[in-house]
């Protein structure tokens, strides 16, 4: 059944983990972590801890740039360049969402070769981003780095860094190797994308450069090395870390509603995807109806006239200081309910077979046909999210090689089309960190309205119009915090989402 709690709050989303005895005596205490580092952007979290556990949480996105305002009145084709600058870790994802919206509005379909090149650009960044997330953003919550800046200072406490010495040493070496691997995945990406971050190669109608045989071979050569690292190092290491932190399979449950807008089109009509479109609400699977997405702003620093709009009709009027509001992040809701997005959502909704390392971890035979849902409730946790990301990374790394070999050297990658006088376009995509949708309304060949619903809006949203907290806020409830000065589990829960 649904575990998302209502406005009155109170219900614990996470099962009680063992609370250290020392914390039991303390009364409720407010803890502010700001900045939450090792994420993309600026995030603050405020939690109330009582009897060693989080009982209330608020996340605040503290930055506003006004992309949706800046886009108005510009040439629609510029959107794929401008919106990449929303996120330097996931520019390809915004770019792709943008060109899907433009393809839709312009009524154009890229040739098969163009679809493959787009998928390769996007997939290479998935692999790069997932490696970066585990090793360089999340790992320092489990792995003790060298005793030098920027690896110190760090939160300290008994049991915080509990990996056996050999595993910890190996993970530190992998931190450095991981830097090389994420860089190489971006080099592979740039073979087709021109450069990274901020790709040049993806535009409305397809991609800009016809792939050559030499480029395809170079791409495959680089990605083979990365694929090997993902399969032989990243995936097993995630389970090695998970084995030492089994308690974190019961921390960070969240709302258990999941949403995926679908990613990596497998046909030229953009109907079927490697990771499916769909929603999982209150324990049941449903098809996705994008018209049921609404953005609410009662607790966000935007004018109330913008609340509960479907993004085609959405608006963005900043109102810093609005009474009761506490974030620049809007609160997207599907059918009125918060939904978590990201690798966990995609893996759960698509439910593909899992890796050998996962089967070993689950204790099932190597030849079993276990799929991701075999993880059961364990999936809805800090470690479940890390496992979902690693499993997904292995699948996508394989596809990078497969799709590259399907390219036709010298084949067309683009179909051109004129800017329409007036049109609407919807671009549904999945960033490495979760669903990203772009919505464009064109009038007189110019952008009349442009709305972006990014992964961080879904996951790090504040309370909605009914007072229901966002997915990260819910996932924090029940998180054990033994020492308010060193709230490591709070940042572990947040980082597992890759906000």
């Amino acid at each position: 059944m649904a575990t998302c709690f209502g406005p009155s709050g109170g219900k614990e989303a996470a099962p009680a983990a063992k609370a250290p005895a020392a914390a039991a005596a303390a009364g409720p205490k407010k803890i502010v972590v700001d900045p939450v580092t090792r994420i993309e952007g600026h995030l603050k979290v405020e939690v109330t801890v009582a009897e060693g556990k989080v009982v209330e949480a608020r996340t605040t996105g503290g930055m506003f740039r006004g992309f949706e305002i800046i886009l108005r009145g510009r040439d629609p084709r510029d959107a794929s360049q401008i919106t990449q600058r929303i996120c330097g870790v996931c520019p390809t994802e915004h770019c792709q969402a943008s060109v899907y919206a433009l393809d839709d509005a312009f009524g154009v379909k890229p040739p098969t070769n163009g679809r493959h090149v787009r998928n390769l650009i996007h997939a290479s960044n998935y692999v790069s981003s997932h490696i970066l997330h585990f090793y360089h953003l999340a790992a320092l919550d489990y792995v003790k780095g060298p005793d030098t800046a920027p690896f110190i200072p760090r939160y300290e406490g008994p049991d915080f860094y509990r990996l056996p010495k050999d595993v910890n040493d190996a993970a530190v070496a992998q931190y450095v190797k991981g830097l090389d691997m994420r860089r190489k995945a971006q080099e592979a990406l740039a073979i087709f994308g021109g450069r990274m971050p901020h790709v040049q190669g993806v535009v409305v109608g397809g991609t800009t450069e016809k792939p050559t045989a030499e480029q395809i071979v170079q791409y495959v050569w680089i990605m083979k090395e990365v694929q090997q690292f993902v399969q032989e190092t990243y995936v097993p290491t995630v389970y090695a870390v998970a084995g030492a932190y089994k308690d974190l399979f019961a921390v960070g449950t969240g709302c258990k509603n999941l949403l995926s807008t679908g990613v990596f089109p497998m046909d030229d009509d953009n109907k079927t995807h490697l990771f499916k479109r769909g929603v999982y609400t209150d324990g049941k699977d449903y098809p996705l109806d994008p018209m049921q997405i609404r953005e609410q702003v009662k607790y966000s620093w935007y004018d109330d006239s913008c609340t509960n709009k479907q993004p085609f009709d959405g608006c963005t009027i900043p109102k810093y200081g609005k009474s009761g509001a506490y974030s620049f992040v809007k609160a997207p809701r599907y059918n009125g309910k918060p939904h978590e997005v990201g690798p966990l959502a995609r893996m759960w909704i698509t439910d593909p077979p899992v890796s050998g390392a996962a089967k070993k971890f689950l204790g099932v035979p190597a030849d079993s046909k276990a799929t991701f849902r075999a993880l059961g409730d364990k999936a809805f946790s800090v470690m479940g999210r890390h496992a979902a990301r690693a499993e997904e990374c292995a699948i996508v790394a394989d596809k990078c090689i497969e799709w590259a070999l399907q390219l036709k050297p010298g084949g067309d990658t683009i179909k051109s089309a004129p800017v329409p006088d007036s049109a609407k376009g919807m671009g549904l995509n999945e960033a490495a960190r979760g669903s990203v949708s772009h919505w464009i309304v064109i009038k007189n060949k110019k952008i009349d309205n442009y709305q972006v619903v990014s992964p961080t809006l879904w996951n790090a949203s504040p309370r909605d119009d009914s007072g229901v907290p966002g997915p990260i806020e819910q996932a924090l409830i029940g998180t054990p915090v033994a020492d308010p000065e060193n709230p490591i589990n709070v940042v572990r829960v947040i980082r597992a989402f890759d906000p």
Binding site: V33, F64, L140, I152, Y155, V204, Y320
Partner: protein, 306 residues
């Protein structure tokens, strides 16, 4: 070992204007850099209204690798995206470094600085219940730094947040310093994002020989001294009037929207991501290192205009 600029250039086998950062891989240069960096100069890297793209770009440095930069050349005292610490622990580390190395640390600024709403469009931390804004932070640290390196077009010229209608009053580091009478030298390393060589190379230059020669925009001439169009491998097409009309066509890309004729940077020889490609080969130059590029050079693309 003693190591001079002359040796450096000789080693590179290049003219003074053409130092290729890829040559930084040479063991003698790495050694010299490590020596110049004895005691590992402290760096504080702060982020305003950015996208983290400049940080992601510097992670893509090949020679030296980012691991070498972080472990052997500098001491990164504060960088939100990579540091272990969070919250007050992170801010305390920053304060400690700024105090201990006052007048000696290098401040890197990524992202623009919003001035509307008293700076509250970019809240970057909370210390003892008080919200810190990027505006306050850049003034506070800027005053104490030995020099500031503004990385990326947001920090050097306002960039995308400052594009019309600039809803948050976003400004560059130089504008903020000028308005507040801060005299700390600012080196601008624009680009959206900058090439990793431009960032690492500027840093290497500062450590080995001090502030490099700057142009009127505060950019190192070393990297921003040549016009892309004058050096473009497709220049011959331009001279003969052969123009690509659609992406994928042979020819000069100017009619697709290429901003090479107005853009000063060395992408034409340096290329991107380990040299696998660059913007003009793949599509067009969008002029991302130029001041005011989002507005002045809009629209970006000219192809398929009805």
């Amino acid at each position: 070992m003693e190591f001079s600029r002359r040796d450096f250039i000789k080693l590179c086998g290049a003219s003074a204007a053409g130092i290729g950062l890829s040559q930084l891989a040479h063991p003698a240069i790495v050694q010299a850099l490590e020596k110049a960096a004895a005691g590992n100069p402290p760096v504080i890297w702060i982020m305003g209204q950015g996208c983290t793209g400049c940080s992601v770009s510097i992670l893509n440095t090949v020679h030296p690798t980012i691991a070498e930069v972080l472990l052997k050349i500098i001491s990164m005292k504060f960088h939100e995206t990579i540091m272990a610490a969070s919250g007050e622990l992170a801010l305390e580390a920053q304060e400690k470094a700024a105090k201990e190395y006052a007048g000696k640390f290098y401040l890197v600024v990524e992202g623009s600085i919003p001035t509307n709403e008293n700076g509250m469009y970019c809240q970057i931390g909370t210390m003892k219940g008080e919200t810190r804004t990027m505006l306050k932070e850049v003034l506070h640290l800027g005053e104490k730094a030995a020099a500031v390196v503004a990385v990326g077009t947001d920090a050097t010229h306002g960039g995308i947040p400052a594009a019309k209608p600039n809803p948050t009053g976003a400004k560059s580091v130089s504008e903020i310093f000028k308005a507040n009478g801060i005299k700390t030298p600012v080196i601008n390393v624009p680009g959206c994002p900058p090439n990793p060589d431009w960032m690492v190379g500027t840093l290497a230059h500062v450590l080995l020989w001090g502030v490099p020669q700057l142009d009127g925009e505060g950019r190192p001439v070393l990297f921003y001294g040549t016009l892309i169009h004058d050096n473009c491998p497709y220049r011959g097409y331009y001279e003969y009037g052969v123009f690509a009309k659609e992406f994928g066509d042979d020819g000069c890309r100017v009619k697709l929207g290429c901003k090479g004729p107005e853009t000063y940077a060395d992408c034409w020889k340096r290329k991107w991501n380990g040299g696998v490609n660059w913007c003009v080969q793949n599509a067009i130059c969008i002029g991302c290192v130029q001041p005011d590029f989002w507005d002045k050079y809009a629209p970006i693309y000219y192809h398929s205009i009805a």
